[in-house]
């Protein structure tokens, strides 16, 4: 693996290898000394053009637990000056001697461009690009599902599982990465959304698309993933009439959660709009793995950095 840009670049074996490494990383984190010397002397840059404290902290923790140095570049603070382009920043990072760049941007394709435009030679990790992809989020979701629904086998995929992803698919990079990864790992995916929040052209995706949440839940899914409604991206308006109507039709209420099979888990990539797409009680219920997803994020990101940067990554982690 040279970069980690898109789930579409992975084959099944590579995806499973990252998940297996993440399991090893999780094991090491239960030891008394959690810090591994793996990336001593390397510098990982977190380049965040879009604000996301949770994702940045997760990558920062992952890099630090592998003993890498971390530099945070963010557009919201002062480290990226006004009017400075992605290209300028990339040239700066190249000159500074960064060993890997984790990039988050509101622009679809930003990570791909950084990896392929010839401005910088280092490995690039996509921490979310516009509404395109968020591949480490999908990996952490798959990791979490595997632990609950296919425990014990580090070579297992998600074969035979049925995952329902609900909400603002149109603006969701999480949904796009998950459709690709979960199906790559053998799961069946159903997207549920109001029609205006399903992209025109999504019928070509390897998943089922439904407009009725209750019908989808009645099929007894193994996992239900609620997406955040991204009101700030809703250009043009009118995607649904009111928050109340959305909530009634597409919110994961207590009653809906109660209709799920006992073993089914509830997920959310965060940050949640409690009481809107998901009821607070459901988010806090025993079947919710939302907090665990956060922990999984660190393990998965450790694994990704390991595969991109560790010199012995071909032999697998110790």
């Amino acid at each position: 693996m040279r970069h980690f840009i898109s789930i579409a670049d992975l084959d099944r074996d590579e995806a499973i290898a990252v998940l297996a490494t993440a399991e090893h990383m999780a094991e090491t984190q239960s030891r008394s000394i959690r810090k591994l010397p793996t990336l001593v002397g390397t510098t990982v840059v977190n380049l965040f053009f879009e604000d996301s404290t949770r994702t940045r902290i997760s990558f920062e923790a992952a890099a630090k637990r592998l003993s890498a140095d971390v530099i945070n570049f963010s557009a919201k603070g002062s480290s990226i000056s006004k009017g400075e382009t992605l290209k300028d920043t990339a040239l700066t990072l190249q000159a500074m001697g960064a060993d890997a760049v984790v990039v988050r941007s509101g622009s679809s394709g930003a990570a791909h461009l950084l990896a392929h435009a010839g401005w910088i030679d280092q490995p690039i990790v996509n921490a979310g690009d516009g509404a395109h992809e968020h591949p480490t989020q999908a990996m952490l979701d798959a990791f979490t599902m595997r632990r609950h629904l296919r425990p014990g086998d580090p070579t297992a995929g998600l074969d035979g599982l049925h995952v329902v992803i609900v909400g603002d698919v149109l603006h969701s990079r999480v949904a796009r990465s998950n459709v690709l990864l979960l199906t790559l790992l053998g799961a069946r995916v159903t997207l549920v959304a109001p029609p205006a929040l399903v992209p025109v052209g999504a019928s070509a995706w390897p998943c089922e698309i439904r407009y009725d949440l209750d019908e989808a839940l009645a099929t007894g899914p193994d996992a239900v993933m609620m997406l955040r409604v991204q009101s700030e991206r809703m250009v043009g308006g009118g995607f649904f009439p009111t928050a109340g109507e959305y909530s009634r039709r597409y919110g994961l209420t207590t009653a809906r959660a109660a209709s799920l099979p006992d073993h089914a888990i509830v997920m959310h990539p965060g940050p949640m709009n409690r009481g809107f797409e998901i009821a607070g009680d459901v988010a806090d219920s025993p079947r919710s793995v939302i907090v665990e997803q956060v922990a999984s994020g660190v393990f998965v990101r450790m694994a990704v950095l390991y595969h991109l940067l560790a010199t012995d990554s071909r032999e697998g982690p110790r």
Partner: protein, 444 residues
């Protein structure tokens, strides 16, 4: 512009030029003699006048000089990207002897003063004839009509009016514009794009945009405006031109309108004849353009439309941009592609070599018809004795990879870099004087 290298001794006019052994319109071999800025003879084995230069054109196609109805020369205001001088150099290299300079400059070409300035610059700096296009509305703002009559009756004699880059969206304003230009035989060239349906739009809306998470630019945003405009043109009995039509649905609507006798003409760009939205997958903004690259089915439909005459002309929408405007994230990059220097190669590749157009058709879609729509009396004339000596000699046998670094345009945003393109400009003649020989601009 003057190419005095070619001046006759003691005279001010160009010396005679005999184009020998070429095939006018790709048909029978005939020599073409140019004297004093006119074609004076066409025939086999013409005698060489004593002081004439002879250009051997064996195997070459001889066409009337090409006319582009849709060029962004960027001057005034955008000289970092292009000037009238550099843009017309590019045009000459592409085989053009006339271009229509779009109005979205700074200041906007919305007054007689600005269009006269552009026309004057064309006369002093131009390597081809420059016909200014006037803005339809003041500042392209889409709110009130610019002084169209003043531009029409200025020295620039504007006949084509367009807010290109923006759509004249208000239906009442569009109706009034169509009505108003009737008095001086003008035409409204509409950039058909419903602004509400394309807020934030980044690429054609379909399978690829869904996958890439880029905001979609639906075909209906173009088609709904064209449908409205042809009905308006019919209602008020005016002349409408549709800029850079790009979808299968647009072709259907124009075909329908023509069947009903509505006075509408339409253009397609060279890039919409070849490229699709699949190119966006690499996020290289050189492929970002307005209207966006569409699907393979749309490419097929615009080729069909051009072949059957539904689409009247090919126009480049040459839109130069400085490197910084393209070296950016897709959603922050500028829209537009250069096209003057590759236009005829693209038409040869996609239409002639595919057996969809003859070279006589090429003369129609790239010279005669655009000149007629633009009311360029001196351009797009049939090659015959007495016609002005605007001539292109094109070698269709040459094949080479396009290299934007070689282009005369100031900008390098050609989407065809590295693509093997057929054809080569052996000679472009403007008013009897060569502007280009063997692909190179003839310096003064």
């Amino acid at each position: 512009m003057t190419a005095d290298q070619n001046a006759s001794p003691g005279g001010t006019g160009p010396s005679p030029l005999l184009i020998r052994g070429g095939r006018p319109y790709g048909e029978d071999v005939q020599d073409v003699l140019l004297e004093a800025g006119r074609i004076t003879a066409i025939g086999t084995d013409l005698e060489v006048p004593a002081d004439a230069e002879v250009v051997e054109a064996d195997g070459c196609i001889v066409l009337p000089g090409l006319v582009d109805l849709h060029t962004h020369l960027r001057e005034p205001g955008g000289e970092e990207a292009e000037t009238i001088e550099s843009g017309t150099r590019a045009a000459a290299r592409g085989g053009f002897t006339a271009v229509h300079a779009m109005a979205n400059t700074l200041p906007v070409a919305d007054t007689a003063g600005v269009v006269e300035q552009v026309a004057r610059r064309g006369e002093t700096d131009g390597w081809c004839s420059v016909r200014p296009v006037g803005a339809v509305t003041v500042g392209l703002a889409g709110e009130r009509l610019a002084e169209l009559d003043a531009m029409a009756n200025s020295r620039a004699k504007v006949r084509v009016f367009s807010d290109d880059g923006k759509c004249v969206h208000d239906p009442v304003l569009m109706r009034r514009a169509l009505e108003y230009v009737k008095s001086f035989d003008g035409v409204i060239a509409q950039h058909a794009q419903d602004p509400r349906l394309t807020e934030g739009a980044q690429m054609h809306e379909g399978v690829v945009s869904a996958e890439l998470g880029l905001a979609g630019w639906p075909a209906v945003a173009e088609e709904s405006i064209i449908a409205r405009d042809v009905l308006l043109a019919q209602h008020v009995g005016s002349r409408l031109h549709v800029c850079h039509l790009s979808t299968a649905g647009s072709v259907d609507i124009v075909r329908w309108a023509k069947e009903r006798g509505i006075d509408v003409t339409a253009e397609v760009t060279p890039h919409h004849l070849l490229l699709t939205d699949e190119t966006v997958r690499e996020f290289d903004a050189v492929f970002k353009v307005n209207p966006p690259l569409r699907t393979a089915e749309d490419v097929q439909a615009v080729r069909d439309g051009l072949a059957d005459g539904t689409i009247d002309i090919v126009a480049t929408d040459h839109a130069p941009h400085p490197r910084d405007a393209k070296d950016r994230e897709w959603d922050q990059a500028a829209m537009g592609m250069t096209g003057l220097e590759t236009a005829l190669s693209l038409v040869q590749l996609t239409m002639v070599d595919e057996g969809r157009l003859t070279w006589r058709d090429v003369a129609r879609v790239l010279s005669e018809k655009p000149a007629e729509i633009g009311r360029d009396e001196d351009q797009g004339q049939v090659l015959e004795p007495g016609a002005p000596a605007h001539v292109l000699v094109w070698d269709p046998r040459s094949v080479r990879a396009a290299d934007p670094a070689e282009h005369a345009s100031r900008s390098r945003n050609s989407p065809f870099a590295g693509i093997e393109l057929p054809g080569m400009n052996r000679l472009t003649v403007l008013e009897g004087r060569p502007t280009v020989r063997d692909g190179l601009v003839v310096e003064q």
